[in-house]
Symmetry: C2
DNA sequence: ATTGTTAGACAACAAGGTTGTCTAACACAG
DNA sequence: CTGTGTTAGACAACCTTGTTGTCTAACAAT
């Protein structure tokens, strides 16, 4: 019964990965095989007002160089456009293209469907509790999606 | 305030990262500043019987080359030792050193303390529920800790 | 003995991150 | 207007964790 703290961590990671892997697979099935959740996340930040690389970096708690790399990929694949900012010649204005918006729409729908499936499995009350408790525990920390070298151990059951 | 599926994913990631970041920081504070949770995880697998690179790769659902790289790091830092296997000249026997065992011990203690803190915050019942539900939702999938970009690489590379 | 499988090493490369350095452009004194 | 500081973005070197591909040595089994 009594689980270890490491199990808990693994469980959370497992939940996250289950969701994300399924979503990515489904997104690929729908024709977008070159987008990852990070990209979606970045597009959302751009759409929400982070319209230049430095700002995007700040919002994602990542260096501006890292942000620039992500943007380069996104631009290359046609999900965001870059134009010179008329108001500041240093800046390049970012804009999510209609293709990018389509990805965000589909991504959202897929994640919602996935959540719905969970809802069916454990019931609305349990899911609401889970979310509420997690929210309380995580607190108001900025969302970072990076992190080289994370996880912990398994213990007890042993990796199957 | 019905949340979106994406929020749920972010919440799970947030929970995981909270735990892991705190644990890594605490481990560093205790003198182990060159170990990451992945390393801990690998050591545990080794201790649990994955005593050669190929087997370790299999258990961690990762290529044997990736496993070999991790082992190289672990060996370099003195957490595992490699000796030739007398029974099979191809193999190199892996063994967690006493230093490695110390890390595992500390890591376990830290994670348990962290879980305890959560327990204090939301109560034993809520935590038990959270774990039970997550377990049900994640199902029996193998633990993978990889994922650059959080998801499938369409194409890993290799010599052209 | 030939044939097939496995372990491990080496190499090239992907994707995401980090610093550091540099230039162009802005902002704001004085 | 000019000097000084800050900011945006680009470029480059490098880290980490992963991926394939290729190769040799060693084992296994016909």
């Amino acid at each position: 019964m009594s689980r270890s703290g490491a199990d808990l961590a693994l469980l959370l990671l497992g939940g996250f990965r289950t969701l994300v892997d399924d979503a990515t697979a489904e997104l690929a099935r729908r024709g977008f095989d070159d987008v990852r959740p990070v990209h979606d996340f970045a597009m959302r930040a751009i759409a929400a007002g982070a319209d230049n690389a430095s700002e995007l970096g700040r919002r994602m708690s990542v260096s501006k160089q890292a942000a620039a790399k992500t943007i380069a990929v996104l631009a290359e694949r046609g999900y965001v456009a870059r134009e010179p900012d008329p108001a500041d010649a240093r800046r390049k204005l970012l804009q999510v293209t209609s293709l990018g918006e389509e990805v965000m729409r589909q991504g959202e729908a897929i994640f919602d469907e996935l959540r719905d499936r969970w809802l069916q499995q454990i019931g609305p009350d349990a899911l609401a509790d889970l979310e509420a408790h997690l929210t309380a525990l995580v607190g108001p920390r900025p969302v970072r999606l990076d992190a080289p070298g994370w996880v912990a151990h398994d213990d007890g059951g042993g990796p199957a």
